[in-house]
């Protein structure tokens, strides 16, 4: 059993990975709010970029929007059976 397999298949270890992931997200979001203010290192081109944790928020919104909108377009219009062009 490889290292990766042990991490993923043992529920205790997998739960630990999950916790680490959420902790990492929190650290990144806080860093995004705090660090630029601390070091005055802002080089934004637009005012919306200065919104606290802009990158994190826009990332989440983009991800959800892409999935929801694409699935909607796909189901209503674009998706066809695999043999569509063969028949």
């Amino acid at each position: 059993m490889s290292f990766l397999q042990r991490q993923l298949e043992d529920p205790v270890r997998f739960a630990r990975i999950k916790r680490l992931f959420y902790a990492g997200l929190a650290v990144v979001a806080v860093a995004e709010i705090v660090l630029p203010r601390l070091f005055h290192g802002t080089e934004s081109h637009f005012s919306f970029e200065d919104f606290p944790a802009w990158g994190s928020l826009y990332g989440l919104v983009s991800c959800v929007a892409i999935i929801v909108v694409s699935k909607l377009i796909g189901k209503l219009w674009l998706m066809r059976r695999e043999d569509y062009y063969d028949s």
């Binding site: 979001a29 860093a31 802009w54 699935k71």
Partner: protein
């Protein structure tokens, strides 16, 4: 071509024909030496104009060597080398000849200083790359290969028509900035031909149609050359064209939308080529020094990481025979090295800090920001999130993790792993030392990718995209479907057109149009002809007959007078004299 300058493309195109003559180790050595020699050739070049020949009174320039063509030639020949390493185990010479010719064609396009030599290499690329699809020799591949070839022949003809028109209008074949001819028909035709090869929608459906059908090794070559040589041509001729800004941004999002729906692993990656080339097209459109640098840098980085991703998906296809995501899963246990190398490519395309995409994509996005184009900036950033979502999360999740399919994979042959390792190393090298790439860009670079804000906001964006992915995982489960794209028009639309022609249109023709013809054309014409015939027989004929008759009667009279008898003539003369005398006497 003089001895002081050897065309690296010609080296590959001619050299390729030596491969079928060689055997075993010697052949494998030649497969690597040829692209390596082309790379060294490019590295040794100094800017200038070489290989000028005269043809039809026109100057053909085969060697325009400047900073822009050099940086593209480096990455094209590096990619040629990596592709040959990946294909080293393949026992099909025709594939190798086609691949090397394809790379040589791309180098030819890169160094072409005039439209005619550009066109020749452009077509050479179309033909050699279609062979890489056809040579998979399966029904679906042959169909896709022919569609690919037909689309590119159409594009090539468009280019040729544009070139001929441009030539007749300006008297010059030189290939340079086309801004002066903006809006003209020749300008539009050449631009459309370039956009077709760059896979810009709605002209880009050939790409996701053909690439997933190509051979495992051929697809790796195809990801690199056709679209990126078109980006080069756009940079050369159409930098600063406003239309391209919007087409590029739409393209970046369009590829992402289709990637959500896609079930075929290599087709999903193909849609992400469209998305990534969107950044380059957008950069060309913005046209500032930063933007064109960004488009060039992104083309460079993209060729390497995209090849790596296709190599990974190709390795899975080769060892398991699987191409559909809903049939894969759990392969991380048997293919950990492939997974690790694939993930390096995935991080690079997703623009994770310390990987190549981070230092190249951000130049284009920053150029949009510097240009105060908020909508474009937001579209490109959204597409970035989508790129990570699919290439970095969805594809590896369903391919290597997810529900175990029970299918046993194994690591691919050593040469394929070496090629992936080299490409992965290049992705990290560029990401860690961006200066290596920046100092070779066409314009001087004044751009710092590793700033506090850029790194933190990128990490935030990627992290929370991952969060969104795991929250909506159920929605993303791959389903065995295909998605309609603009290739519908020639795959189904054409069938519909034929049915329409054979059925209703034929009936319309025989019934309605035929009847109309009968009443509107045939009968009136026949009637009129009849009338004219009568007119002819009664009026014209009688007139002619009448003239004839009167002439005949007159002749009869004259004949009785002209008897040929001298006594009669004397008598008539005497009668005339008497008559004259009578007139003279009585009128007095």
């Amino acid at each position: 071509m003089t001895l002081e300058w050897l065309h690296p493309g010609l080296l590959l195109i001619v050299g390729a024909w030596a491969l079928p003559l060689l055997k075993g180790r010697l052949k494998r050595t030649a497969m690597l030496v040829l692209p390596a020699a082309a790379l060294i050739d490019c590295l040794l070049m100094t800017p200038g104009t070489y290989g000028v020949t005269s043809f039809l009174g026109q100057e053909l320039v085969f060697g325009r060597v400047d900073r822009l063509s050099l940086v593209f030639s480096y990455v094209f020949s590096i990619m040629g080398f990596l592709g040959m390493v990946y294909a080293l185990h393949v026992k099909d010479d025709s594939q190798h000849v086609a691949a090397l010719t394809y790379v040589g064609g791309a180098l030819g396009v890169t160094f072409a200083g005039d439209f005619l030599s550009l066109y020749v290499f452009w077509e050479l690329m179309a033909i050699s790359s279609s062979l890489l699809v056809l040579l998979r020799r399966e029904t679906s591949a042959v169909g896709a290969g022919f569609r690919y070839l037909l689309v590119h022949i159409f594009g090539g003809l468009l280019l040729l028509a544009g070139i001929v028109l441009h030539w007749s209008q300006t008297g010059s074949l030189a290939f340079g900035d086309m801004a002066a001819y903006s809006g003209g028909l020749a300008w539009a035709m050449i631009l459309a031909a370039f956009l077709l090869n760059a896979a810009v929608p709605p002209l880009g459906a050939w790409l996701p149609d053909a690439y997933p059908e190509a051979t495992v090794t051929g697809a790796v070559f195809m990801t690199a050359f056709t679209t990126k040589s078109a980006v080069y041509a756009l940079l050369r001729g159409f930098a600063g064209t406003e239309l391209l800004v919007w087409l590029g941004a739409v393209m970046a999002v369009y590829g992402v939308v289709y990637a959500v729906l896609e079930n075929d692993a290599r087709r999903l990656l193909a849609y992400h080529i469209i998305s990534q080339v969107g950044y380059m097209v957008c950069g060309v459109g913005i046209g500032t020094a930063l933007a064109t640098n960004g488009a060039t840098a992104h083309a460079f980085a993209h060729i390497l990481y995209k090849a790596l991703l296709f190599m990974g998906a190709g390795a899975v296809l080769q060892t398991t025979g699987l191409r559909k995501l809903n049939e894969m899963g759990g392969l991380y246990k048997t293919m950990p090295i492939t997974l690790g190398l694939y993930m390096i490519g995935a991080f690079a395309i997703s623009a994770v800090p310390l990987f190549s995409g981070f230092v190249s994509k951000s130049m284009v996005v920053a150029a949009a920001g510097e240009n105060h184009r908020a909508v474009i900036f937001l579209m490109l950033t959204l597409a970035s999130a989508g790129t990570f979502l699919h290439t970095g999360l969805k594809l590896p999740y369903y391919m290597f993790f997810g529900k175990d399919s029970g299918k046993q994979g194994k690591e691919p042959p050593g040469n394929m792993l070496v090629a992936m390792g080299l490409a992965a190393a290049a992705c990290i090298l560029i990401g860690v030392f961006p200066g290596l790439l920046y100092e070779r860009l066409p314009n001087p670079v004044d751009f710092v990718p590793y700033t506090l804000q850029h790194v933190t906001s990128t990490l935030g964006m990627l992290g929370f995209t991952a969060l969104g992915f795991f929250l909506l995982l159920k929605q993303l489960d791959p389903v065995p479907t295909i998605s309609l794209d603009t290739d519908w028009f020639y795959r189904r639309g054409a069938t519909g057109l034929l049915t329409l022609v054979r059925g209703p249109l034929a009936r319309l023709e025989y019934g309605f149009v035929g009847e109309i013809y009968e009443f509107v054309i045939r009968r009136p014409v026949l009637g009129a002809a009849n009338l004219f015939r009568k007119l002819d027989s009664f009026v014209v004929d009688s007139a002619i007959v009448g003239v004839g008759r009167s002439t005949q009667n007159l002749s009869q009279v004259l004949r009785s007078m002209v008897s040929g008898n001298a006594q009669h003539y004397g008598l008539i003369m005497a009668a005339g004299v008497v008559a004259l005398l009578a007139v003279a006497i009585f009128v007095r």
